[in-house]
């Protein structure tokens, strides 16, 4: 059963953690507009531990949001919790060049 995509943002004292849930594809498009508006900290962690599949459209959405957060908000973004295939996609598409992988505490 496909899980409905959603984004949850947990505000910490020094960083915002963005939890993605479900598959990231063309249906996730609208959610990413809100993401840019909602993030307020300079340090941002993208958590993919509840993400299923990310297709090429999802990769484009992630690249766009990472670039927007960096340029519009001066954010430093890191990534955690990606599964094996998504880790490979992030390496292949340069996402890790913009937002390096970090280990969860």
């Amino acid at each position: 059963m496909e899980q409905q995509f959603k984004i949850e943002i947990k505000k910490g004292s020094t960083s915002d953690t963005v939890h993605f849930h479900g598959n990231i594809d063309s249906h996730a498009d609208n959610h990413f507009d809100d993401l840019i508006k909602s993030v307020s900290k300079r340090m941002v962690v993208f958590d993919f531990s509840s993400v299923g599949r990310i297709n090429s459209m999802g990769i484009a959405l992630l690249l766009r949001s990472i670039k927007s957060l960096k340029t519009e908000k001066g954010a430093e973004i890191s990534i955690q919790g990606a599964n094996q295939i998504n880790t490979m996609l992030f390496k292949m598409t340069g996402i890790y060049l913009l937002a390096p992988e970090t280990k969860r505490l």
Binding site: S56, A60, Q84
Partner: protein, 187 residues
């Protein structure tokens, strides 16, 4: 019919290197609307029995490949007379009269054969080679065309495109349970 070398060059051939010949059972599922995509992906995931990390990684790759192949057939292949895309990605759509999309799948415990055919015949060797070339340039362009095809080429062994202009495109290849050390999804 053409395949792509590991350097992204087109190799024309009469006979596909990958096929479902030799598999005990071949599954064929017609796609009637965009709503069928998730159900077909689930069916293929269920065919890959086994609970170790290799099986799980094969299921992850199979789901991604089918997603990309079906998105291509549903949204990238349909073009109007000017070559413009007819349907937007994510839009719910049913196939129009005369349009066909077929998924073929077979698994022997080591290799998963996947093929998706559509009745548009728009994916020429030049287009595919162009997409692979721009995706081989390792920058981080956001909306790069052909990224899904690039993923297929990277992950599938003997990835091929069978193309009859205006009539049919078939895209397929194998996913391996235990990929080679440096190719087809090996880490």
């Amino acid at each position: 019919m053409f395949t792509l070398s590991r350097h992204g060059r087109v190799i024309c051939s009469q006979v596909p290197q990958a096929s479902c010949n030799g598999f005990d059972e071949v599954h064929e599922w017609p796609v009637l609307s965009s709503e069928d995509k998730e159900e077909i992906i689930s069916r293929v995931e269920r065919i890959i029995e086994g609970n170790n990390e290799h099986h799980e990684f094969l299921r992850q790759r199979a789901a991604l490949m089918l997603d990309e192949m079906l998105e291509n057939a549903l949204y990238n292949a349909p073009r109007d007379l000017n070559g413009n895309q007819i349907y937007a990605k994510g839009e719910k759509r049913s196939l129009v009269s005369g349009e066909k999309i077929l998924v073929r799948c077979a698994y022997d415990g080591e290799r998963l054969f996947l093929e998706v055919s559509d009745s548009w015949g728009k994916l020429s060797p030049e287009i595919v080679q162009g997409y692979i070339a721009i995706n081989l340039a390792h920058d981080t362009s956001t909306d790069r065309a052909g990224r899904g095809l690039y993923f297929m080429w990277k992950f599938m062994k003997d990835f091929y495109v069978n193309f009859v202009p205006g009539l049919k495109t078939s895209v397929g290849g194998y996913l391996l349970l235990n990929p080679d050390t440096c190719e087809y999804g090996a880490t």
